[in-house]
């Protein structure tokens, strides 16, 4: 399925949101013995149908219901394991966070510019 540019940008942002969540989990568990970090699958793999994004939550009344499905997590490649079994590399995770941020800014700017083009076409000033 081909998305239009707005749909693609929205999907990209949702994907980056999920990635950010994974990296936040890895960093929160920086000192948890035996913890193995997770990594996100590449965005191209997601577009090819691997992994799924979670469904949007429309109401939050029922806190006990199981959360919406979807996962883009795969076990991360491990460079080294600390004596307590923890395999999180802070440098690697922070680099991923930085990359996620830049990509998100990029996607949001594309979305904004594309909307601006609509505004121009319709004769409105954005």
């Amino acid at each position: 399925m081909t998305d239009d540019l707005l749909g693609l940008a929205a999907k990209r942002v949702a994907y980056l949101d999920q990635s950010q969540r994974l990296y936040a989990q890895n960093i929160a568990n920086l000192d948890t013995p035996g913890f193995t970090p997770k990594a996100a699958i590449p965005f191209s793999a997601l577009l090819n149908g691997e992994g799924t994004l979670p469904l949007a939550v429309t109401h939050t009344d029922d806190q006990t219901s199981s959360p919406p499905g979807g996962t883009i997590a795969v076990p991360a490649r491990i460079a080294a394991r600390a004596p307590d079994g923890n395999a999180v590399s802070l440098n690697q995770q922070l680099a991923e966070i930085a990359r996620t941020q830049i990509s998100q800014q990029y996607a949001v700017n594309i979305y904004k510019s594309y909307l601006g083009m609509f505004h121009t076409a319709l004769g409105n000033t954005p």
């Binding site: 950010q20 929160a28 948890t32 013995p33 959360p67 966070i97 941020q101």
Partner: protein, 134 residues
């Protein structure tokens, strides 16, 4: 978008590291707390262990304090017959706290705290950019 979850994950990391700092502070504060009666045991160093816990409502792995234990290593002894905690031979048991180990631990806790805070800031930036679209 569900940036609230990401912020909650980082917040769990912050509170875990905070608990760790509290334990370190206790250890350092009691680095020379000997017993009060002859031959009694001094302060025993506390240890802290984290574990990851899956939160069903957030659908994420949070970090929490698994347990606060006690370091079972032997107490060093010092010859000090005038101390009220000295045993019949005049030796006093000192706490098994090593200030250097505690200081290193503190540095590590601080570094992890910083890392979680950076993630929080990054998430906040992403959230702000999304809100700027409106």
């Amino acid at each position: 978008m569900n940036f609230g979850t990401t912020l909650a994950i980082s917040a769990s990391g912050l509170s875990a590291q905070g608990a760790r700092l509290r334990v370190i502070a206790e250890n350092l504060a009691n680095a020379s707390s000997t017993g009060t009666t002859p031959g009694s045991n001094p302060y025993r160093r506390k240890t802290i262990v984290f574990s990851d816990r899956f939160d069903r409502t957030l659908n994420a792995n949070l970090v929490e304090v698994d347990r606060i234990g006690h370091d079972q290593s032997p107490f060093p002894v010092k010859y000090d017959p005038s101390n009220p905690a000295a045993n019949a031979q005049g030796y006093v048991k000192l706490p098994n706290v090593n200030s250097f180990v505690e200081l290193m631990d503190m540095q590590q806790a601080e570094r992890s705290y910083d890392a979680n805070l950076s993630v929080m800031n990054a998430t906040r930036g992403m959230l702000t950019r999304m809100l700027d679209l409106i």
